[in-house]
């Protein structure tokens, strides 16, 4: 167990370092860009106002609010402190709602959609890929081109296709939203059902895209493992095929989990865009409306939250990998 403890501490250390880096980047990047974000915001707000002093007053107020008149490092400390207090400031496009309020209402929609979708897609994709490698023949011949094709369709493309086929043409599913437009969130069965119905298309578009990518990878891994020496050796000692398949898939899965960890950032990014297609009330639509509204505080906070989300997912996967790869848990060798 000692080896695992080392592994765990190592990964935890990395997590913290990356977290700090994320904060720094999120803070610094916008401020390094040419142009004064406050001025841009004020310009937008002050459109139509001809009173120069009025505009100046607004500018000063916002400068105070954002603290852009203080030195950089002081701003950073204020920033970090605020984040930990949960204070992200006020949303410009949805004033007087606070940014924290806006994000907290859309964050859970995204998490509830994406994480199950990615996991389900990963499981299904890997299973199909493994089956294709093992069964070969016609199953493989059908699965491979489909997977190749699917893995090249961007997430939003699949979202549009599903939307058009199932929502617009066949009218089975609704075209937008997280729940019925005429409903107010309440813990009634009707509401829950509406949520489930609205959940289907976004969910399945993410799942299908994930399946495409994973199936191909797993198929290659499984083919590689099936031809491995230990497979032949085990067979020659009389071990049943079923058991050997177990060996192969356990071994092929490990790099797949690592692969998932490495690509989780891209997957989530793609899924966010897919959310927009469905006007799903998650972080994707939040970003879109924030961009349209020039809402700097909201965007800055949303990117931070998304980064943290990806970070957490990544490190959760690494910890999980450490638990299931027996070599990591092995006792220290002499």
């Amino acid at each position: 167990m000692k080896k695992y403890r080392n592994y765990f501490v190592n990964k935890l250390g990395w997590f913290l370092v990356t977290l700090v880096a994320a904060f720094v980047l999120n803070f610094i990047l916008p401020r390094l860009m040419p142009g004064d974000p406050v001025a841009a915001i004020v310009a937008r707000l002050a459109q139509g106002q001809s009173n120069a002093t009025g505009v100046q007053a607004v500018y000063e107020q916002y400068t105070e609010l954002f603290g852009t008149n203080k030195p950089m490092w002081e701003q950073f400390i204020i920033y970090v402190r605020n984040v930990f207090r949960g204070d992200f400031g006020y949303s410009i496009s949805q004033y007087p709602r606070t940014v924290a309020d806006v994000i907290s209402s859309s964050l859970w929609w995204t998490v509830a959609l994406q994480f199950p979708a990615i996991i389900v897609g990963w499981i299904l994709g890997n299973t199909l890929g493994a089956l294709a490698a093992y069964l070969k023949g016609n199953f493989d011949r059908i699965l491979l081109p489909i997977s190749i094709f699917l893995s090249n369709v961007p997430a939003f493309g699949m979202a549009v296709v599903l939307l058009v086929i199932f929502a617009v043409n066949m009218d089975i599913f609704p075209t937008s939203g997280g729940y019925g437009h005429d409903m107010i969130p309440n813990p009634s069965l009707e509401f829950v059902w509406s949520v489930i119905v609205h959940y289907q298309l976004p969910f399945w578009s993410i799942v299908i895209i994930t399946i495409g990518g994973q199936a191909i990878g797993m198929r290659s891994m499984a083919i590689y493992e099936l031809n491995a020496d230990y497979v032949k050796y085990a067979r020659f000692l009389g071990i049943k095929d079923r058991k050997i398949i177990g060996y192969v898939f356990r071994n092929a899965m490990l790099p797949q989990i690592t692969g998932l960890a490495l690509s989780i950032g891209t997957m989530i990014s793609g899924a966010l865009v897919a959310e927009i297609i469905f006007s799903y009330p998650g972080l994707g639509t939040t970003i879109l409306s924030a961009v349209l509204g020039g809402d700097y505080p909201l965007i800055s906070a949303t990117t931070l939250i998304i980064t943290i989300m990806v970070l957490v997912a990544f490190f959760a996967l690494e910890i999980f990998y450490g638990l299931i790869d027996p070599r990591i848990r092995a006792a220290q060798s002499d």
Binding site: L29, I148, P154, V160, T266, T303
Partner: protein, 417 residues
């Protein structure tokens, strides 16, 4: 080198991918030679015109030769265009609901059906189970049917400017045809128009070219950065390596797309040209290449020819350029292809969020998607505004991926199946 090229072109996957890709590239280059209209020129009033051949009605009435063609089915086609089978069934339903005996209704006999209809239809009647929408449908249907069976022609009249009186000029009979080839004004819109009234096909070709350019720039930038960092960290090792690996690992976890959003937004609308966006995309997506190159360089740095070079006293840069680079060139090419492909996708994603290149200059594939999404094309069924775009994106991505897999199998014989 020639042998290598020959091997590459013998790979089935590479050739297919290459052909598709070149077809797309050539189209974007050749099309503008023949069609010189500016892509963002608004050519229609009204949004989302469906694909088809658009014929100028004014010209067909006036300035061209009128021909007489007597075709038997002309009348029934005209009727069928207005009165579909579903419409007939709807009419039957209405009539039955209005207590017309079913035996008297023959939906195949247009004349009789229409007579029954004209005699019985009452727009104010509301049958049980009929919604408002249904009632409006019947009213619209009724007005469509007006004059359906007429055999008289249409009168073209001239208005007297002073008196305001109309005098008959001539009559357009039902069997008058014009030769489309003689019309001065027809416009073929294979993909209709978008929400602003712009020719979608024209836009698409230009957008593809722009997106490919963006992808190319982004890919080159990312590959150069990745190559440089990978080579330096892989070859020099030590503290430099640790530092670069640290940074690389950092950027592996922090999603490049998020940084892209942040940077793109902060740059502001005015600064966001296509080129700038491309560079930014390149700056945020070099991680994978750097990692792959570093791995390769590490396995190469202890090879004999490298050691020989070191003993000969060659400078590090010289060694990197002449001893290491040629061996990783194949990886670099593959990495470049992948980076270009992902660059195009990244731009599309950015544009959908509204953070892509400026909208007034040139269209990009992502921007076209953005417009069609914002204007709800997908919900209203205007497939031409988004589906070709998705198809092009998927094809580009697919063909590049194929080329890459083909190249991979050539450079790495172990992967050949």
């Amino acid at each position: 080198m020639k042998h290598l090229l020959r091997q590459i072109f013998r790979s089935g996957k590479f050739v297919v991918g290459f052909v598709i890709f070149m077809a797309i590239v050539l189209t974007t280059l050749i099309y503008p030679i023949f069609v010189t209209d500016p892509p963002l020129e608004i050519i229609s009033r009204g949004t989302f015109l469906p694909p088809g051949v658009y014929v100028n009605v004014y010209d067909s009435i006036g300035g061209v030769e009128h021909y007489n063609l007597v075709l038997d089915d002309a009348a029934s086609r005209r009727i069928a265009n207005q009165l579909s089978d579903d419409d007939r069934l709807a009419m039957q339903e209405w009539l039955i609901g209005n207590e017309v005996p079913e035996s008297e209704i023959d939906i195949t006999d247009t004349a009789a059906l229409l007579e029954l209809w004209t005699n019985n239809f009452d727009p104010t009647v509301r049958l049980p189970g009929m919604t408002n929408a249904d009632r409006n449908y019947y009213i619209r249907l009724n007005s469509r049917l007006d004059g359906l069976l007429d055999t008289e022609g249409v009168v073209i009249a001239e208005m007297n400017e002073e008196s305001g009186q109309l005098t008959e000029d001539y009559v357009i009979e039902q069997n008058i045809y014009v030769n489309v080839g003689e019309l001065p004004n027809i416009r073929w819109l294979p993909l209709g128009t978008d929400n602003f009234g712009r020719d979608v096909l024209n836009e698409l070709v230009t957008a593809t070219r722009v997106s490919l350019n963006i992808g190319l720039v982004a890919g080159v930038v990312a590959t150069i950065i990745g190559l440089a960092l990978g080579m330096i960290s892989g070859y020099i090792g030590g503290v430099v390596d640790d530092l670069i690996v640290f940074i690389t690992n950092l950027f592996t976890v922090i999603p490049g797309f998020v940084l892209l959003i942040l940077i793109s937004f902060s740059i502001g609308q005015e600064q966001r040209g296509a080129f700038t966006i491309a560079v930014v995309i390149g700056l945020t997506s070099w991680v994978w290449t750097a990692r792959a190159v570093r791995a390769q360089v590490i396995s190469l740095r202890n090879r004999d020819h490298v050691n020989l070079s070191k003993l000969s006293g060659h400078s590090t840069i010289h060694i990197l350029a002449t001893d290491i680079f040629p061996y990783i060139a194949s990886y670099v090419v593959m990495a470049l292809i992948l980076q270009i492909s992902s660059g195009i996708l990244a731009e599309a994603g950015l544009s959908i969020l509204g953070l892509g290149p400026r909208t007034t200059d040139v269209p990009t594939l992502g921007l076209m998607m953005n417009w069609s999404m914002i204007y709800q094309a997908h919900i209203s069924g205007y497939w031409w505004a988004y589906f070709p775009v998705i198809l092009v994106i998927a094809l580009i991505s697919f063909s590049m991926n194929l080329m890459n897999t083909g190249l991979d199998q050539v450079f790495n014989p172990a992967l050949r199946d």
